[in-house]
Symmetry: C2
């Protein structure tokens, strides 16, 4: 029979693979699982299996879904003329929570990042081009994070779609609502000047 440390080390390694969990946190979690009581551990496990057994990614947009086509893509009341490009399926939930957007989505599943060896072919960019050719969008809103990778991906998509005569926009970068000018970094201040609007 393997030693207690063997099982602890195995769980620790598995948890350390999850995003945001380092080796020390993973080891703390492993000990916590031992103290939690079997009932609580089984409810953690069953929530995981239910998740992966019931959720898939939508064949059209790449968002989460309980069917092959997600609730947003199959919703006839949504605006079929606007497409919002996001990095991950999670971003769809974030945009939906704002209740500001009623169009369709396209999930890239990442951003172009040459340093990490991620090029356009590693993302759902070809399918984006195909959708833009096949469907009759009037506007493509690119909603990526204002980082080097996000900006590079935005420019790549804009140039790829330039021949299609679409209205391509990106969401505004500037001071977050409720923030204080005094504490804003100069890159954000600079973006907020570039993107100033007439009042």
């Amino acid at each position: 029979m393997a030693s207690p440390s063997y099982y602890l080390e195995k769980v620790t390694k598995e948890f350390a693979k999850l995003p945001g969990i380092g080796h020390k946190s993973a080891s703390r979690i492993a000990f916590h699982l031992l103290k939690m009581g079997k009932g609580d551990v089984y409810s953690l496990i069953s929530s995981i299996t239910e998740l992966i057994d019931n959720i898939k990614f939508c064949e059209i947009c790449g968002g989460i879904s309980d069917n092959n086509i997600c609730a947003i893509c199959s919703d006839t009341t949504r605006d079929k003329n606007t497409l919002c490009v996001v990095e991950s399926a999670r971003d769809i939930l974030i945009v939906e929570a704002s209740k500001k957007y009623n169009g369709l989505y396209h999930v890239l599943s990442g951003l172009i990042s040459p340093l990490d060896g991620i090029g356009p072919d590693d993302l759902n960019i070809k399918t984006l081009e195909q959708r833009c050719r096949d469907e009759s969008f009037s506007e493509i809103i690119i909603a990526l994070s204002p980082t080097i990778e996000g900006d590079a991906t935005t420019l790549y998509i804009a140039s790829m779609l330039s021949s299609l005569k679409l209205n391509i926009t990106r969401i505004a970068h500037g001071l977050p609502v409720g923030s204080d000018l005094e504490y804003a970094d100069s890159a954000t201040i600079s973006k907020s000047f570039e993107g100033r609007v007439r009042i």
Copy 2:
């Protein structure tokens, strides 16, 4: 059938119960599980079930064990005259890794913390007193963290055992090896002066 967000929210809540994981990290983990591939998720789950099925807490010291009595308590080559008091089962592994100590252990399973409503009766302190009466220890080394709770628990144990005429010590508090005096906080400097030793 429940909506995709239902399953995601359920997993997020379960992960947010684990130490060091907030709601946002838990939600990121839930999405990561979906992208991981079923094989990897099942190996995470099986590592958890193996852990809780195979590991128990030692009936004597409270450390982790694959039997009712752990490998340390049943090891006849260890020094039965010295007992080291630690906060958690994990601390045993940390002390063992230093290879400096060869005696027995006693796990308190927490520290006295009136603010969190944790008193001596919530910890394995009565069993510690019983062990000190029944066994023939010559030294009790208290190895708790140098925090308010750790110090309070140390003093409580020392006064509880004072009538037993045992040699009660605590591990040294001072500058960590490899650290720079310049960056040490004044509480640590103060402890290092109090605990100075003749060279």
